[in-house]
């Protein structure tokens, strides 16, 4: 697949782009993980990042969230350059990443986990309201609010991780492989939830290996290969793209 030109990517939805990655680069101890990452997240959309393992998806979203400092390129949020902001300040602006592997605080209770999620000033005033909303979304968490997070099952931990992300009052929620290691029933619930959150006005950037389901709910999608964005389009269009099918959908 040939690389897509950067300008081309931005053009079609630059009008309402909430988050823009512009030619991001990153290398781990000299090994390049991202060489040219450019894409946009449209306001109010679900946008998927897909690609093989090692294509640079997680690296890209970590850069967006401020957890990695790019070696080059820019990140724009609402048109402002936020490239060099550290993670806790990015959260303050309304961009929250729910990391791959959940990373809940195992020896904190569910409630404490959620309280940590509301550390940002933008969220601290709404702590109680957001806590209620999270418990509404995940009744399972409400039942277990005083239990240590480490004792919960993988599905429950994923819900807690998303709930924790929501506690920060995000405008943009980045989900890195939310379906990883979960049973089909839970995966379905997670995807339903993603749609619901999007319906509430949160822009969602979704990194998924579960490409079928991701493309099914995404308005836009970007395909990463070897550290660069090589293809973009609507979810439905990419689903039909033979090259994409060959590479990511098992050729079916």
């Amino acid at each position: 697949m040939a690389p897509v030109k950067t300008e081309m990517v931005g053009v079609e939805m630059s009008m309402d782009a909430v988050l823009v990655a512009d030619s991001l680069r990153y290398a781990y101890r000299g090994v390049p993980a991202a060489t040219d990452i450019s894409f946009t997240l449209a306001q109010g959309s679900i946008t998927a990042l897909i690609g093989a393992n090692g294509a640079g998806k997680t690296t890209s979203v970590k850069m967006l969230a401020g957890a990695l400092l790019p070696d080059g390129g820019r990140i724009l949020y609402d048109g402002n350059d936020v490239t060099r902001l550290p993670a806790h300040e990015v959260v303050e602006l309304g961009v929250t990443l729910v990391p791959e592997g959940r990373l809940v605080f195992p020896a904190l209770t569910v409630r404490e986990n959620l309280q940590i999620g509301a550390t940002a000033r933008r969220a601290s005033a709404d702590l109680d309201r957001n806590m209620e909303r999270t418990f509404d979304l995940f009744p399972r968490l409400a039942e277990r609010r005083d239990q240590y997070a480490g004792t919960m099952s993988g599905g429950e931990q994923q819900m807690l991780a998303i709930g924790r992300g929501l506690m920060a009052n995000p405008r943009v929620l980045i989900l890195d492989e939310p379906s990883l290691g979960l049973s089909p029933k839970i995966v379905a619930q997670i995807f339903a939830l993603v749609k619901r959150l999007n319906g509430e006005g949160i822009s969602i950037l979704l990194v998924e290996q579960n490409v079928n389901q991701a493309l099914a709910i995404a308005q836009f999608a970007f395909v990463l290969e070897k550290g660069r964005v090589v293809k973009s389009g609507s979810g439905a269009a990419l689903m039909k793209d033979p090259a994409v099918r060959e590479a990511f959908l098992g050729g079916l």
Partner: protein, 322 residues
């Protein structure tokens, strides 16, 4: 291959001929280098290869010394090379036996807990040696060698320590190339996974620990001979334990050359510092350690194993600090 043989031969020739060109004190410094480098190599078998950091390896220096002294006293052999060999062999064997006995319980501990347990064992042994009258650790023990006429002690011990160093080095080399060495490596990297791959982790750890103890015990007994007179406080020394670790870290832990390079480097530095900066030598040594950590992170970073020592809080996974 021939290149390697030449190098080995060259090294041997240099070691054999070196004393001819050196003043007595320099011989003594090189001797000290052989001693500390061999200690670091011996520590490295468990600390570097298996990731089991002992903070109390000096216990085997002390045990080796005490075992040798009491053994030769019992044996009643006249002072001389034969008696010395008997003492060293017994010191080494004794440490090996003790290590084999404590290996199973103590090696169930991992990371920092193993390190502390070894520190504790070292302290218990030191305290007992110092306070139980029979050991004579408080008043001291004599362990003398009667040397043939015309042999100076520093030269004699130079060759003895050179030999022990080469021996330790060969043992390390053989261990690292062997199936057993790969087993140690697997344990360092992930002990549970190693078990799943059929590595008999318990036995391998115990064996590695015993080898390490035998080597250190041998060196400890020899060290006692080179001192001639020692008390518990001369052989049970926490700084011995610390130095073994620091030499390995600075040179590169888990490698064959690392401990040797580290020992050479630090020995040179501290000798200079001790000689030149009387009232400030602690300060200078501290600065050197910090500078090495900050400027040579790769030497220090090494191939560190053991959960407790794993990288934490460097969230950027090797990325740039912000």
């Amino acid at each position: 291959m021939t290149m390697r043989i030449f190098l080995l031969l060259g090294t041997l020739i240099v070691i054999v001929l070196l004393p001819q060109f050196l003043a007595p004190f320099h011989i003594r410094v090189v001797q000290l280098f052989f001693f500390t480098a061999a200690l670091a190599l011996a520590w490295n078998v468990m600390g570097g290869l298996a990731g089991y950091w002992s903070f109390g390896h000096t216990v085997f220096i002390g045990m080796g010394a005490f075992a040798a002294a009491h053994f030769v006293a019992k044996l009643g052999l006249p002072a001389g090379p034969l008696q010395m060999i008997a003492g060293i062999v017994f010191g080494a064997l004794f440490c090996g036996i003790v290590a084999a006995i404590i290996a199973y319980p103590i090696l169930r501990l991992r990371g920092i807990y193993f390190a502390i347990a070894m520190l504790g064992i070292g302290q218990v042994a030191a305290e007992l040696a110092n306070n139980v009258g029979w050991f004579q650790g408080d008043v001291g023990l004599f362990l003398e060698t009667a040397l043939p006429d015309g042999v100076e002690p520093e030269r004699f011990f130079y060759y003895v320590f050179a030999g022990l160093f080469l021996f330790t080095w060969m043992v390390s080399l053989v261990v690292m190339r062997s199936r057993f060495g790969y087993g140690l490596l697997a344990i360092r990297e992930d002990e549970d996974t190693a078990k799943m791959l059929g590595v008999p982790t318990e036995q391998i750890k115990a064996f590695g620990f015993t080898i390490s103890a035998v080597l250190v015990g041998m060196l400890g007994a020899t060290y006692a001979y080179s001192l001639g007179y020692f008390t518990a406080s001369s052989v049970f020394r926490i700084d011995f334990s610390l130095n073994m670790i620091i030499y390995c870290l600075i040179g590169g832990i888990g490698t064959l050359a690392g401990p040797v390079v580290g020992a050479a480097l630090m020995l040179l530095l501290t000798q200079i510092i001790l000689g030149q900066l009387l009232e400030l030598h602690l300060l200078a040594t501290g600065l050197v350690v910090i500078l090495i950590v900050l400027t040579l992170p790769n030497g220090v970073m090494g191939l560190v194993g053991g959960e407790a020592f794993r990288r934490r809080f460097s969230m950027r996974a090797g990325g740039k600090a912000r």
